[in-house]
């Protein structure tokens, strides 16, 4: 049987949709594990990235941050925290939030820093205060990259929340880990499929956000800028 047939069989089994630990329950938990760290990380990283991008201070740190964080194995970090037995909330919230910050921070910084210097000079020259320069000019122009950073981080937390099931958390990863332990491929495949679908939905949400938030004037410019 293929991956899809295993997964499909399992997902369409009605029993899996009812009761404690069922699909809706774990889905909700997974959303919680993903959305909350993303939100907090965003609230920290977006303003920080904007300030660093606008002032240029701390830029070297940010640039090197991307490479450094990419090297950290999330499984190892999660497992370490589980072994130290932190209280549940902290076990997942802090590490996931901290890990979700770099992609947002780096992309927001790149976006704001990458605004055409002529445009930045003009914004200053027409008499905008620094706040106005940032809010009216730099952030709107950086919006595509800001959204890419948030999207990347969103995908990342969805994936990490999946792995977090290994240290006992709920969420869609629960099906995978339990299924592997019991050598039942059904839930393993089914859980994986659901996680993949969730990731695709996240992509779709961000595509929509991009339509809504990226100023119209920037969309056409893409082709000419090469």
């Amino acid at each position: 049987m293929s991956f899809f047939s295993y997964a499909w069989d399992w997902v369409t089994t009605d029993a899996n949709w009812h009761g404690p630990g069922s699909i809706p329950h774990q889905l909700l938990a997974h959303l919680g594990y993903s959305f909350l760290p993303l939100l907090i990380a965003g609230l920290i990283a977006v303003p920080a990235g904007v300030v660093i991008g606008h002032t240029g201070r701390g830029a070297t740190l940010v640039i090197n941050l991307a490479n450094a964080w990419r090297a950290i194995p999330t499984l190892g970090l999660l497992v370490l925290i589980a072994v130290y037995q932190w209280p549940t909330l902290l076990t997942w919230l802090i590490p996931l939030t901290v890990l979700a910050i770099p992609p947002i921070l780096v992309n927001v910084y790149e976006g704001v820093d990458g605004v055409d210097p002529g445009v930045k000079d003009a914004a200053k020259g027409v008499g905008m205060t620094p706040w106005q320069q940032v809010v009216k000019v730099e952030v709107p122009i950086a919006m595509p990259l800001i959204l890419i950073g948030l999207r990347t981080s969103a995908i990342f937390v969805v994936a990490t929340a999946t792995i977090a099931a290994y240290i006992g958390l709920g969420g869609l990863g629960r099906f995978i880990i339990d299924g592997l332990a019991n050598t039942q491929y059904g839930p393993v495949a089914g859980g994986s499929l659901l996680v993949i679908l969730l990731a695709l939905i996240v992509l779709g949400v961000f595509a929509l956000l991009s339509r809504l938030l990226v100023p119209a004037g920037l969309r056409g410019a893409g082709k000419d800028n090469q």
């Binding site: 490479n67 090297a71 999330t74 497992v79 370490l80 595509p144 990259l145 495949a189 994986s192 993949i196």
Partner: protein
């Protein structure tokens, strides 16, 4: 932290490290080999680009564990599954950079080459690819670092790597093992990264040590991730 554990288990640790290095390095290299021809095609026939980008974005969004699991029925619980999974991810990072790097070669340079009598293939090999090398290597760096790190996830489906230290350390409630695993993976990843930086310097003596060749603008085209700090992150 029980330091004595390390030397007494060194041979196993070393095996696992070699395993991780294998998984983490082979995969992006395969990804590179696949990406370059595909990237050349995509750079040449521009209409291929938007759909390619969509596919790449979608595939890259798939969580690693789920991807490995999806590959199991076809490739079994073997190294191959993880290698293929990691190769796919590396492809998602390197391919846009190949396209971006090639498209970033300044048009005047290409025209001069053609005007001097270079045929398209020769121009590609002797002019465009060398100039695109910094950007391509930047993508390779990301691919290697991520792969070394992601290989550990394969442990969950039983594919051996330094991830074993995490799994075992968790079962035995033994932080030392976990620290060792973390440390080695990070060191390995950073070492590979630095080696690739050296490779880039060796291959492109004309570039000023930045992740792009002179003349290639870092300016990001909205919607098209071409920056040497790839927008995609894992």
């Amino acid at each position: 932290m029980m330091w004595s554990w390390i030397p007494s288990n060194w041979s196993e640790i070393w095996e696992l490290t070699k395993q991780t290095a294998f998984l983490g390095i082979i995969s992006p290299l395969i990804g590179l080999v696949i990406s370059v021809p595909l990237g050349v095609v995509a750079a040449r026939w521009r209409w291929i680009n938007p759909p390619t980008l969509v596919v790449v974005n979608v595939v890259y969004a798939i969580p690693s564990l789920a991807l490995f699991i999806a590959l199991i029925p076809t490739f079994g619980l073997t190294d191959t599954t993880v290698v293929i999974g990691l190769t796919v991810y590396s492809l998602c990072v390197i391919l846009p950079n190949v396209v971006g790097g090639l498209r970033g070669v300044p048009a005047p340079v290409k025209q001069a080459a053609t005007a001097m009598g270079y045929g398209p293939l020769r121009r590609l090999i002797t002019v465009e690819l060398p100039l695109a090398t910094p950007v391509i290597l930047a993508g390779l760096r990301v691919g290697v670092v991520s792969s070394v790190s992601l290989a550990s996830v394969g442990q969950i489906i039983g594919v051996s790597s330094l991830g074993y230290l995490f799994v075992d350390g968790e079962q035995r409630d033994f932080p030392t093992e976990i620290y060792v695993g973390l440390f080695l993976i990070i060191i390995l990843a950073v070492a590979c990264d630095l080696i690739l930086v050296g490779v880039r310097r060796a291959l492109t003596p004309w570039a000023s040590g930045r992740d792009r060749a002179p003349g290639i603008r870092r300016r990001v085209v909205p919607g098209t991730p071409v920056t040497p700090v790839p927008a995609l992150w894992r």
